[in-house]
């Protein structure tokens, strides 16, 4: 791939790649690093693509893989320092009805599936292909994600109303 082509795809899809990574790893600096890795992979890729949409799907899939690999290296080390609690407290007050918190509380797999479906607009079959799972598994994750969000938000509203 030429440098000019790379520039073009960065222009087109960098935001998508970074947002996808950010939604999984929850850290903008890490998401930026992952985005670099993914575009590096694109730049050195020797195969052929059929279309820009094909490239986008390829990029998203790469991003998901890299993001989950990144998460794996951080599992069981997810300490929260006391200092960061204050930061979370500030963010919490900007949270519109707790939806952001609820979304980020979801399991990464559920979160990713919701993101691809609702934000990127992919269909069940396309998501199944991207994530290498069955269509039934995609539907289950969507349902589970929505149910969990609903439970969490209902609890929040209960607390807010002193129930």
């Amino acid at each position: 791939m030429s440098g000019l082509d790379l520039d073009r795809y960065i222009e087109l899809y960098r935001r998508t790649v970074t947002d996808t990574a950010l939604f999984i790893v929850k850290n903008p600096a890490d998401a930026e690093d992952i985005a670099q890795d993914v575009f590096l992979k694109l730049f050195t890729y020797q195969g052929n693509f059929n279309s820009d949409e094909h490239i986008k799907a390829w990029l998203i899939r790469c991003t998901i893989n890299h993001s989950f690999n990144h998460l794996k290296s951080h599992w069981n080390k997810n300490y929260v320092s006391i200092d960061s609690l204050g930061e979370m407290q500030d963010k919490k007050t900007n949270d519109d009805n707790g939806i952001r918190t609820a979304l980020m509380s979801l399991n990464p797999k559920l979160r990713t599936t919701l993101y691809l479906y609702y934000y990127e607009g992919y269909g069940v079959a396309e998501i199944a292909g991207m994530l290498r799972i069955s269509a039934a598994a995609v539907k289950w994750r969507l349902k589970r994600g929505r149910d969990k969000l609903r439970d969490v938000l209902d609890d929040e509203r209960s607390i807010d109303h002193g129930l």
């Binding site: 950010l22 670099q36 949270d95 399991n107 292909g129």
Partner: protein, 559 residues
């Protein structure tokens, strides 16, 4: 709810004050890294940079795979027989491109990809592919039956471009009592393309589980790894062929075929097969055979098998004979990479009737269970399979100890150590005297959405009384669990006994949502029991729920 808007707002919030570099700078960095990588790669093998070519259907249609008698020779191993050599090549093996009357046939199960229409005269093997972008993990689950005595069960396959790891089992009908030293001698052969890294064995009463790792040094368009006797360089029992291709959307991938060789004995049966598929595993079709051997399907096995995909039970109707009654495993999520949780309906009231053990590795398994309000029973076990490894477990009918003198296996469960949850682990170091356990120290706590593990140590080998744990969720639901830390494993390096209590909530209860927590009726002092990363008390209680992976509120003990 407007999910798209919610996600958009979430992303904006998360970006916060972060200032990304410009696109021009970003592109420059990517190209710089590519240049550095290129100059470093001349003497290294990088899985992501392998030269890959577009789809070549002739690879798949012209390859010749002959399923042969395979490790039936293992049965004869015990009698000292020796495998024939080069059987595969003599019958139109892969390296020769195959003979005309033999064809491979398969189709992908996930898409309308390559489907070979010709039916082979001989049986074929299955193929599994792995994309070098992914972890390369593929669940295989294919069996080869050889008469009544032996089944070879291929389990999992992992290939990341450098390391290939294949797990398989030799399942004998009867308990193994003979010399199995020959089985230990089966290794992947070292060649110019790579060498064997390790072979691991696990021995059950009638099963030998094997896991072999192979490192590739070079990867040409096609690479083969053959398994044979370590001391006999010419022997060949079965092997892997890996070749480059692309998938249905022109993605580069490496297709792997696993083939079995046959002994020289021309009377050896040639098997038909039908593959149980999971995602990413290619389906083989059933072919006619030239021999009289018959496919041994699951219905004739003594032990059926539970399939777990992504932690979810695939079967929707699994009934086990337990004691004099039956229990049914209810569908749902049953494994998260660490905690196995089966919800059972039927004739079971406590966990003393059912056990679980590994058939591959000697593992210290913590098990427990509780009766649910709806009459079902939750059986849980802490099965810590390390990431990237696999294991096979048997569910046991312990009541058979009384009637048959030994526990009876009633179900087989395959698990892989791929954890799919976020958890917190904290060191506590708490003297449990005030909670009715005078000799125990709570060393570690691990909290995840699926369970709470409490790891204890003790200076003495005493059996602690039952521990009753109770917690209240944010919506006011009170949950209970019982267990005991029991007598633990002795660690010579520490001079202490180590035990673990596993608390597994009911199916719909998320432990990270707990509001209050008590042990043996005593509510804990939240400042002293749970680590700060498990809970927090906001300076000002706004009533808004905090991120669940961070906070678990614990009530103070009442003095």
């Amino acid at each position: 709810m407007d999910y798209k808007k919610a996600i958009d707002n979430t992303l904006s919030d998360m970006n916060g004050s972060f200032r990304p570099m410009s696109n021009a700078e970003f592109s420059r960095k990517v190209q710089e890294r590519a240049e550095i990588m290129s100059s470093n790669e001349k003497n290294a093998l990088h899985p992501g940079i392998v030269e890959l070519s577009p789809v070549q259907p002739e690879h798949k249609s012209n390859k010749v795979f002959n399923v042969i008698a395979g490790i039936a020779g293992t049965a004869t191993v015990l009698a000292g027989a020796v495998f024939g050599l080069n059987w595969l090549n003599e019958h139109g093996g892969l390296k020769e491109g195959g003979s005309d009357e033999l064809r491979a046939g398969y189709s992908q199960n996930t898409a309308a990809a390559t489907t070979v229409e010709e039916q082979p005269e001989f049986t074929t093997i299955f193929q599994a592919y792995s994309n070098t972008d992914d972890s390369g993990y593929v669940k295989v689950d294919q069996r080869y039956g050889f008469g009544d005595d032996l089944t070879v069960h291929l389990r999992e396959y992992i290939f990341d471009g450098i390391f290939a790891k294949i797990s398989y089992e030799l399942v004998f009908k009867d308990e193994i009592t003979g010399d199995i030293s020959d089985i230990r001698q089966i290794w992947p052969k070292d060649t110019e393309s790579g060498h064997c890294e390790s072979v691991e064995y696990g021995f059950g009463k009638n099963t030998v589980s094997c896991s072999a790792s192979y490192r590739l040094e070079t990867f040409a368009d096609q690479t083969e790894v053959s398994f044979g006797y370590k001391d006999d360089p010419k022997s060949e029992l079965f092997g892997l062929t890996m070749f480059k291709s692309t998938d249905r959307i022109n993605e580069p991938m490496i297709t792997t075929a696993i083939y079995m060789t046959a002994p020289d004995n021309n009377d050896a049966p040639v098997m038909t097969e039908e593959t149980t598929v999971t995602t990413d595993v290619l389906v083989t079709s059933e072919y006619a055979t030239t021999a009289t051997a018959e496919w041994t399907d699951d219905t004739t096995y003594n032990i059926p098998q539970v399939q777990i995909t992504d932690g979810m039970l695939d079967y929707t109707d699994v009934t086990l004979a337990l004691g004099e009654g039956n229990v049914k495993i209810l569908p749902g999520k049953i494994y998260d990479g660490r905690i196995l949780k089966l919800k059972l309906a039927g004739d079971i009231d406590d966990e003393t009737h059912i056990g679980i053990r590994s058939v591959k590795n000697p593992r210290n398994i913590i098990q427990g269970g509780h009766k649910n309000d709806d009459g079902t029973f939750t059986f849980s076990a802490l099965i810590d399979v390390p990431d990237g490894e696999t294991d096979v477990f048997e569910l046991l009918d312990l009541d058979a100890l009384k009637t048959e003198g030994k526990p009876k296996a009633i179900e087989v469960i395959n698990v892989s150590g791929i954890k799919d949850y976020e958890s917190l682990t904290e060191r506590v170091g708490l003297d449990m005297t005030q909670w009715g356990m005078p000799y125990e120290t709570l060393e570690w706590l691990t909290l995840s959405p699926f369970g709470l593990e409490m790891s204890f140590t003790s200076d003495t080998n005493w059996k602690s009384p039952n521990i009753s744990v109770e917690w209240t969720t944010l919506n006011g639901t009170v949950c209970k669990s019982r267990g005991h830390s029991g007598t633990g494993n002795y660690d010579e390096s520490t001079g202490k006994y180590h035990t673990t209590l596993l608390i597994v909530p009911d199916e719909d209860t998320d432990l990270t949502q707990m509001k209050e927590f008590s042990i043996n009726g005593l509510k804990t002092k939240r400042a002293e029991f749970m680590p700060r990363s498990f809970w927090d008390i906001p300076e000002e209680d706004s009533g808004t729920m905090l991120p669940v992976e961070t906070f678990v509120q614990i009530a103070a003990p009442e003095e």
